[in-house]
Amino acid sequence: MFKIEPLKKEKLKRRKFKAVNLIGWPYLLILFILIVIPVLLIVFYAITDNVKDIYFEFTLKYFLMFFKEAAFVKVMKDSIVLALITTLICLIIGYPLAFVISRQAPKRQAILILLVTAPMWINMLIRVLAWKQIFNIIDERIIGTNFAIVVGMVYVFLPFMVLPIYTVLSKIDPLLYEASADLGSSAVITFLKVTLPLSIGGVLSGVTMVLLPAATTIVIPKILGEGKYLIGNLIEDRFLKAGNWSYGSAIAIVLALIIMLMVVLTKRFDRNKGGEAYEKE
């Protein structure tokens, strides 16, 4: 009798542990099979060549092919340039917008933010088709130009810029503005010395949240660019039309690396800014 009790407790504990562990298994399986393995597959296909049906050989020719074809490198360059322009315009409109909204009465702020974010809930294709119709009404010739693509991208991605900046701005203690004014700073100086440094984090997350999808979109160039070809469309073609998975995978890896590089650079910019501010102190 005396000995059974602790044993039973042990057993119970082990069972509890097992039950809790088990309920995580479906997720781990999906994570492994549908998320981790696909990434490995992309890498695998990009660096191998299917010699016979089952025999694969290591090769870097698909990467070389991409960089050799000037037209494709240009597509990559175009995509990045258009994405950068879009990001810049989103910043130029989005920052003042977030700033003005953060200065309104609380209730008005909530309504304005609702108005800015509500379009995000509408299917992106519908919003892009809406612009196509607008351009058709104004002048058909606009469709197919870079201008049309940039307008479409700014329209779709602007909320991603406004939201993080607004979140940061609305958290700044208003007493800081007062203190700055009391110390004799003009509105401009207050903005440069108080508001801007405190909101740089929001700006950077806004920049990555616009830059990433803008560089890889396939919907906007297809509908508003009519025939204009950006990097997303190139990957789409390699995979769905040409059926050349290895080539498509290689392009996707180049794209992912460039984007990663841009994100890392943005983050470094943040750190440098922070460092400078410290040094000045």
Partner: protein, 268 residues
């Protein structure tokens, strides 16, 4: 005086941006009521395109499948993800951190990369693409968002709670239902909402993993040049539903905030 000028400029700026956001949507809706099939000249008011919409089997089929996939993906991913969040909190630190890092892959990766990865997986396994693979893909890309929504909430719970429930004789499932779920309800509901909208609006991943199966986004993307106002009618209906949901949600949170304020005032 100067202040007032600022206010006018601010106001004009706000109006301009809001117009930029809403004019295309409004124009799209207006042309859904055009009696003519032109998308540039409004002739007269009619519901013709709405009737046309319900007659178009391709569209109604795409809408129904979008709903079915979204509902299934939402329920399955939230279910699996919520359980996983509870389990994750109990895992050893190293395993947990690894899993949480891997969980971020589809969140930071461009969508198109996730999409071709899944395409390669299905092709390599020789699984025929269709609604089933689309559903699998949707579950897979919703799950990480369920985890990042639910897991932090589970983490903040008192770990002794479940043990206390079990010590009092509750079997694990019962302990889960009565001790944990009520406390993470808000996060679970958020996960449901995120999953549903992501699945419902998804284009890129569906497009690559569905073969010849279509949902609303794929239908709109693969439209040939013959765009007609029944697309506007479909869009208008979707926009109306979304508007109602957004307004109801807004009013409800507003009410809750007000209640919260009253409560605070009382406690002071």
């Amino acid at each position: 005086m100067k202040r007032n000028n600022f206010k006018v400029v601010d106001g004009l700026f706000l109006v301009a941006v809001i117009a930029f956001f809403y004019l295309p949507i409004i124009s799209l809706m207006i042309f859904s009521f055009n009696s003519d099939n032109s998308l540039t000249h409004f002739k007269s008011f009619s519901f013709k395109w709405y009737l046309e919409l319900f007659k178009n089997e391709e569209i109604t089929n795409a809408v129904i499948m979008t709903f079915i996939i979204a509902i299934l993906a939402t329920i399955i991913s939230t279910f699996i993800g919520t359980f996983a969040s509870i389990a994750l909190a109990k895992y050893k630190k190293r395993l947990r951190n690894t899993v949480l890092t891997l969980n971020n892959i589809p969140i930071v990766n461009p969508e198109i990369v996730t999409a071709i990865g899944m395409l390669l997986l299905f092709q390599s396994l020789k699984i025929e693409k269709g609604y089933f693979t689309m559903l699998l893909a949707h579950i897979a890309f919703c799950l990480p968002y369920v985890i990042i929504s639910v897991y932090p909430k589970v983490r903040s719970l008192d770990p002794n709670l479940v043990e206390a429930a079990m010590d009092l004789g509750a079997p694990p499932l019962k302990a889960l239902r009565h001790a944990i779920l009520p406390q993470i309800k808000v996060a679970v509901v958020a996960a449901l909402a995120i999953s549903f909208t992501m699945s419902f609006d998804d284009f890129v991943i569906s497009y690559f993993t569905s073969g010849s199966a279509t949902n609303i986004s794929i239908y709109l993307y693969t439209l040939k040049r013959g765009v007609n106002p029944s697309i506007n009618a479909l869009s208008t209906l979707m926009i109306i539903v979304i508007t109602i949901v957004v307004i109801v949600h807004y009013l409800r949170t507003n009410k809750q905030i007000k209640k919260g304020v009253k409560f605070n005032e009382k406690s002071i």
